[in-house]
Each structure stands twice: as structure tokens, then as C-alpha cells.
């Protein structure tokens, strides 16, 4: 049942804070504050509620308030041998969901958009709205959580989410080799958690049972000389989203220095990604969506996930 109970006082307080009238935005960790345009100066900043509401490891779900730091979420999950697909870069859970960017190890942990099972947000009218459901499988009604992930808070201000968690693998190892075909590397192992390529070197994150990792490393040794490393390379500042085939065929001449996620298509590059235009018919649906959810344009004015 989505009917709110007395334990949801923090949500009601947040809704009251958001109110119904003036331009408004939620301030999280501020780590992705530039994405999607500059927030209009008239917007009042509020903070989302914090804290973990409910965690049942055997259900592989956690209910957490949007203002909770991702680091805190992962600390709690880690104690139970679990983790989530949210990126850790100093921000909040709500910020990570509103931005919707996935981690480097998406292949291992899944995407952010697949992790959000239920979302509670405050609407432009100041009401608390629930979309989705608190269990791992649910097709009850329209998929509002998917719409909220990556929406930059332009359709509603996220207050609380139920996230899918997954078990932390027993073993985990980054390895690196120079001058190997990164796509061949990806295909030589069953489920690498990450394959990164900077145009010359390839990094692989292998996770699972120790013996299987040894087996995978052996399989990869026929492709190149891999050495164990502490982690992924440093990432250039800008983020591109490309079809995986294009990401695997990048050149430094086009984007400058880069780190591409093989099999995924996210590219971290020295140069900014070109502005992306929506297909006109999609722009019409998008505009209608925004107008229906936020008729007065008060939610995160100035920002848009279309860019």
C-alpha cells in the first residue's frame, strides 16, 4: 500500500517545505550541478530528507531517503555483504537517481535505471506521489520510476526510493594490458564487471569466485599480457553516450584523451560531448510530459535532461 503512515513525517515535512508556488530545486551533493543547464537564479533550494528507512538484505531491497549520501548507503549495504548500482562520487542517493548516470562497472552491477523499484517524490503541486512498488518484480501500472531516473528533478522532487541491491562478489580484481583488442577481451570472458579502454591500454574488472577469476585471467593471457592493478584509470571530465560499437572505434583525434566503457558505450573524454537534439516528434512528447507534470515550470527551472 502506498498510503503514507505516521513514520513518513519527514516526507510530509519535505512536501510542506517544497510548497506549491515558487520555483524550486533540491540541492544534493552538488557533484553534477552543471548537468542539463544552469539552474534559474530565482529557484529556492531545499534539501531532501535523509536516512535509511528499511533494509531487508534477504529481499535484496533497501528503502532510503533521497538526501542520504551514497557513501552512507553503501556502508550499510556493505555490512550485509551487498552493494548497489549507484555511483559513489560524494553525492546523494536522490542526486544519483535524478542524474541517472551509471557506474563504470555497470556490466557487473546493472544500471541506475534498473535499480529503482519505487520512487516517492513531491509533485509540482506539493503532493507526495508514489510510483512503482517495493518488490523486485512489478508491472502494476505505468512505470513512473523509469521516468524519474535521469529527469534531473524536472518532473518531481525525489524524496525516497526503494532500490534493488545485489550481493558483493566474493572476489574482485582489476587487471590491465596494453595493445589488446578490448572487444576481444570482453568476449573472452563470461561476465566482466567492467572493460575500459583508453585507445592503448585495456582495464578489466573481474568479479566472482576466486577460482573462476583465476580461470578468466588464464583465458585472457592468450590475448595479452595482463597485470594486476589497483583500480580503473583516472577519468577525463566530460561524459559521452555512444553506441558500444562507436565507443570501441574511438580515436584521440576526435575526442582527445578518453576512457571508453566497452560493451556499454559511456565515454569519459577530454572534450565536451556535442549537444544532442531530440527528434521533433519526441520533443513534442517530452514537452507535453513536462507541462503535464509541472504546468507552471517551477521544478528545477533552467535544467533539462535533453541536452
Amino acid at each position: 500500500m502506498s498510503a503514507l503512515t505516521s513514520t513518513d513525517e519527514a516526507l510530509h515535512a519535505f512536501a510542506a517545505d517544497v510548497g506549491q508556488a515558487d520555483p524550486i530545486a533540491v540541492e544534493g551533493g552538488g557533484t553534477r550541478w552543471q548537468i542539463g543547464g544552469v539552474l534559474h537564479g530565482s529557484a529556492r533550494l531545499v534539501s531532501a530528507p535523509v536516512g535509511i528507512v528499511d533494509y531487508r538484505p534477504e529481499e535484496m531491497v533497501i528503502t532510503v531517503r533521497a538526501g542520504t549520501p551514497v557513501a552512507e548507503l553503501h556502508a550499510v549495504l556493505g555490512e550485509a555483504g551487498q552493494r548497489s548500482s549507484l555511483p559513489e562520487r560524494g553525492g546523494t542517493v536522490g542526486g544519483a537517481v535524478a542524474v541517472g548516470e551509471s557506474r563504470l562497472d555497470l556490466l557487473g552491477r546493472g544500471s541506475v535505471r534498473d535499480a529503482v523499484l519505487q520512487v516517492r517524490y513531491v509533485s509540482a503541486e506539493g503532493e507526495i506521489v508514489t510510483g512503482g512498488g517495493p518488490v523486485v518484480k512489478n508491472v502494476s501500472g505505468f512505470n513512473v520510476p523509469k521516468l524519474m531516473v535521469g529527469s534531473l528533478g524536472t518532473l518531481g522532487l525525489i524524496a525516497e526510493v526503494v532500490l534493488r541491491t545485489n550481493p558483493t562478489p566474493p572476489a574482485s580484481q582489476w587487471i590491465r594490458a596494453a595493445d589488446v583488442d578490448p572487444v576481444a577481451v570482453r568476449n573472452a570472458v563470461l561476465r566482466p564487471s567492467s572493460v575500459l579502454w583508453n585507445g592503448s591500454s585495456t582495464w578489466v574488472l573481474l568479479e566472482g569466485h576466486e577460482k573462476d577469476l583465476e580461470h578468466e585471467v588464464t583465458a585472457l593471457s592468450s590475448i595479452g599480457e595482463f597485470v594486476e592493478v589497483d583500480g580503473p584509470p583516472d577519468l577525463p571530465p566530460y561524459r559521452w553516450s555512444l553506441p558500444p560499437a562507436d565507443a570501441a572505434a574511438l580515436h584521440r583525434e576526435t575526442v582527445g584523451g578518453f576512457v571508453a566503457t566497452i560493451g556499454v558505450g559511456t565515454v569519459h573524454a577530454d572534450t565536451a560531448a556535442p549537444k544532442r537534439e531530440l527528434d521533433p516528434a519526441i520533443a513534442v512528447v517530452t514537452e507535453r510530459m513536462k507541462t503535464l507534470f509541472d504546468p507552471k515550470g517551477r521544478l528545477n527551472p533552467g535544467r533539462s535532461p535533453q541536452t
Binding site: P57, V139, F142, G150, P167, T168, D246, G265
Partner: protein, 489 residues
């Protein structure tokens, strides 16, 4: 009827809608006779059929666009239809809509194993795709029980699941891009092959929208690499509760099997009588656990699952010794619904989800409810997801039975909500659970779902009368059940 009047009838002015459709489509692919319209008035559920308008069989996106434009010009609704295997009434035509069958859009357009994506038309049958991919070492992960006949377009519309969605996720985790003909006739690409397409996740909103946001005409699906090692375990239990507890304990131990399926005794007996798959018929419940991945981890997890079962009083732990034995166990599981025919002529297959920890209590509740209504119930379900499928078997010819079946079903749905669950895990809302939507969602929640729908379909053109309950736009069911003016019976 006199010869003259028969001749007159044959030459009577044709319906202008049919004429317009035959103008944009090969006339052979516009069907309007009573027998065909009667067939498309139902899906595979127990719900009363609707009223189908002309049925079109397009082969291209452009033809779907042309049909949609005819619908717009004639003020008629439009309903996409795959194989008609839906169990919630999602494809039942209301308001004499134009029915757009995807039956002739059944081609696998492109398979790119290097980038793990295939482009398919919506009428491709789920299992046909996986069969096509098998020699290349890949498969399409969602595997609904109806996979031998259901279509990928239908899987997208319902966000279908299946036994192997426990580890891999349901359809929306395996759909990258969808070409959609919007209810105004425009064709757009939702999502993309890149991981973070610009704008709102309209692809995510479309998957599972039950045909209410437009018609998928091309789908880019993710391919999953076949694992090198697979182990299938069959655990038997004298108490159903022990089987349910084993499921919870496996997940709590940090193991995510590819599948965790439970069948109760009535179900295993029916399955054994039907296909003799090797299930023990004396166990109160059996748990089918499948682990796949790399060999060492699979061995370790198979051992741990056996141990967890034995700690929960399993009376038998058996590992399939060969591919044949494994295939036979799955054949038994996947033909469960066919096996029911020998028990009673009719069945109503329910679909709810509860938290895994609530499974044991929920099963007892289901038995109690069905006993109270004097209905035979059999259980076969995706235990790892907490996704229950109580199968109420009955003979609809016995007066008053269907009413008791519906009353028992309603109690089961409400008990699932009370246990912290949801209305549907994979069948959808359709017409089946519209009446329960306001028990799971508040008015504000439903209003926002309605806004999402309206952004795609402001004129309620696409599959009206579904998902959202009365009181929301596109949901005036009574009006849709009535025959629009100018429509023959």
C-alpha cells in the same frame, strides 16, 4: 433471405473505415468477417471479450503509420495485438477499435553478436529468437512460460518476465531501443543503442505500458551470452513452508540463482501425469533451482543450495545428471499450465508479488481462501522473485463457480497487498486489475500515471479502457463496452 436481398447485401455500400484501410493496405490484409473479429475479441484470460473492429495485418512501420492515420481520421481507437496469450485482458478490444496484428511483422532483422544486440519486428516469437541465437552462443533472457507462442512485441507491452528473470531482470532490462508509431501516426525511436540517451527515459515508460502509448514496430533487444556451466537442482519438501524458507535463505546467503521455481504437490502430480518429467509426487512442494555461470562458482553455489535445503528439512536433493534430465525438468515446469486441463476444464491463473519473506504465510493464506470458496488451487511460481501464480481450477459450466473464482481471486490480490506486495509481477493490469489499482495507489499516484499516458496519447487513441481505473481519462469502460454508432455487431 431472398436471392435479391442476398445480392443487395453483397453489394451494400462497404463500411467507410474498411474502405479506407483497404486503401492503405493490401485488401487481403484487412479482415472484417465476423468469425475473425470474434477470435480477436478475446485474449487467453477468463475475461469477457470485447468488440473488435477490422483487423489489419501490416508488414512495415509505414503501414502501421498509415493504419493509425486512418484511425485518427475516422475517430476510431487502435489496439495492437501479438499472439493473444495475455492473461489480464490487455489485448481485449474495447470500443470496436481497429486491431493491429503484428502477426506478419515477424522477422529477425539483424543480429550483431559483437555488440550483443538484435533488431527484431514485434511479431517475432520469443523462443524463435533464442533458437536463432543459440548456435551463436547467445539467447534472449526473458523466458515467459508462453515463450513458444508469445511475441516480443507482447513481451515489451507487458514487460514480461519468466523463470530466468531472477538473475537477469525482466524485459525492460533487455530492451535498448523501440521504434514506435505514436497514437498520432508519427514514428519515433525511443531509447537508443547508447547507454544514456538524451531526454526522459521514454523507452522505460513504454515498456510495460500494455499498448496504451503506441505500437512498437521495431525493437532492439540485448543478447545474453550463454553460460558455460549450468546446474539444475531439484529439492523436495514435506512442508511447503520449508520450501519457501529455503528460497529466502538462498537469497540471504548472497546467492542469485538464474531461477528458483516452486511447484506444490497438486501441480507436480498434474505435471507428472502429463509429461512424466521426473518430479516426486509425494512431496508437498518441490523447488527447482538453477545456477549458471563459470564452473567453479556454479559448483560452490550448487553445494550451498543443497546445504540450505537440507538445513530446511529437504527430503530430497537431486542434481540433474544430464542435459536431457535438465531439459525434462524444465519441460515439466513450462508445461504446467497445459497439464491443468486434466484436472478441470477451466483455470484462472493469478499473478501477484509479495516480499520473499512473506511467501510461506501467503501460500497458507491462498490455501485457506480457496478452501473457504471451495475452489481447487494449484501453485507454480517464481519463488525467487516472490512472484506467486495461484492457479484456480474449476468448471465454469457449474452455476455460480465463476463468481466464487473471482471472489477468491480478489481476496488473494488484497492479501498480497496487505503482505507488502503488488498487484502484478508480470501479467499486467489490463482489465483484470483496474478495479484494484486504487487499493495500491493513491489518487495522486494514479493521476500522475494518467499524466504519463496523456503525454504520449492525449486523445486516448491507443488501447483505451485499460490499466487505469474509471475516473481517469481513457478509462470510460462502460462507454467503450457499448457499441459506437455506425458499428455493426
Amino acid at each position: 433471405m431472398s436471392l435479391l436481398s442476398r445480392l443487395r447485401r453483397r453489394h451494400a455500400p462497404a463500411d467507410p473505415l474498411v474502405v479506407a484501410l483497404q486503401d492503405v493496405l493490401d485488401p487481403q490484409r484487412v479482415r472484417n468477417d465476423g468469425a475473425e473479429r470474434s477470435l480477436t475479441s478475446h485474449d487467453a484470460s477468463v475475461f469477457a471479450g470485447g468488440l473488435s473492429g477490422p483487423i489489419c495485418f501490416p508488414t512495415t512501420t509505414a503501414e502501421v503509420q498509415a493504419i493509425t492515420r486512418v484511425a485518427v481520421e475516422h475517430g476510431r481507437a487502435i489496439v495492437p495485438r501479438g499472439a493473444g496469450t495475455g492473461l489480464a485482458g490487455g489485448a481485449i478490444p474495447l470500443g470496436a477499435p481497429i486491431v493491429v496484428s503484428t502477426g506478419k511483422m515477424n522477422h529477425i532483422l539483424k543480429v550483431d553478436t559483437e555488440n550483443r544486440v538484435a533488431w527484431v519486428q514485434p511479431g517475432v516469437i520469443n523462443l524463435d529468437l533464442s533458437r536463432h541465437l543459440r548456435p551463436k552462443g547467445f539467447h534472449f533472457a526473458p523466458d515467459p512460460s508462453s515463450q513458444q507462442v508469445c511475441t516480443l512485441g507482447g513481451n515489451v507491452a507487458n514487460n514480461s518476465g519468466g523463470p530466468h528473470c531472477l538473475a537477469y531482470g525482466v524485459t525492460d532490462a533487455h530492451v535498448l531501443a523501440i521504434e514506435v508509431v505514436l497514437p498520432n501516426g508519427e514514428a519515433v525511436m525511443l531509447g537508443g543503442l547508447d547507454p544514456e540517451p538524451a531526454g526522459y527515459d521514454l523507452r522505460g515508460a513504454f515498456v510495460g505500458s500494455e499498448g496504451t502509448l503506441g505500437i512498437a514496430t521495431r525493437i532492439a533487444v540485448r543478447l545474453t551470452k550463454n553460460p558455460p556451466a549450468v546446474r539444475t537442482l531439484l529439492l523436495s519438501f514435506a512442508e511447503t513452508r520449508d520450501a519457501a524458507q529455503t528460497v529466502s535463505d538462498i537469497i540471504a546467503a548472497g546467492i542469485v540463482p538464474a531461477a528458483l521455481e516452486v511447484m506444490d504437490q497438486r501441480m507436480t502430480v498434474a505435471v507428472e501425469n502429463y509429461v512424466a518429467a521426473g518430479y516426486p509426487t509425494d512431496a508437498a512442494a518441490v523447488l527447482l533451482a538453477e545456477i549458471e555461470g563459470l564452473p567453479a562458482g556454479v559448483e560452490i553455489d550448487a553445494g550451498r543450495i543443497g546445504d540450505i535445503g537440507r538445513a530446511n528439512n529437504a527430503t530430497g536433493v537431486r542434481q540433474a545428471a544430464s542435459d536431457e534430465e535438465r531439459a525434462l525438468l524444465w519441460k515439466g515446469r513450462k508445461t504446467a499450465f497445459g497439464a491443468v486441463a486434466q484436472v478441470a476444464p477451466d483455470y484462472y491463473l493469478h499473478d501477484t508479488v509479495v516480499p520473499r519473506a512473506a511467501l510461506a504465510d501467503m501460500l497458507e493464506k491462498i490455501y485457506e481462501i480457496c478452501e473457504r470458496y471451495d475452489i481447487t488451487v494449484m501453485n507454480v511460481f517464481h519463488a525467487g522473485d516472490g512472484n506467486l501464480h495461484p492457479l484456480l481450477v474449476f468448471d465454469a459450466r457449474v452455476e455460480g463457480t465463476l463468481e466464487r473464482v473471482h471472489a477468491a481471486g480478489a481476496e488473494i490480490v488484497r492479501a498480497s497487498l496487505d503482505a507488502g506486495g503488488v498487484l502484478s509481477g508480470e501479467h499486467g493490469i489490463g482489465v483484470e486489475k483496474q478495479g484494484f489499482m486504487d487499493e495500491m495507489f493513491s489518487d495522486a499516484d494514479l493521476d500522475h500515471q494518467n499524466r504519463l499516458r496523456n503525454a504520449f496519447d492525449p486523445t486516448c487513441r491507443s488501447n483505451p479502457g485499460k490499466v487505469l481505473p474509471m475516473g481517469h481519462s481513457c478509462a470510460d469502460i462502460q462507454a467503450l463496452r457499448a457499441m459506437p454508432t455506425g458499428v455493426w455487431g
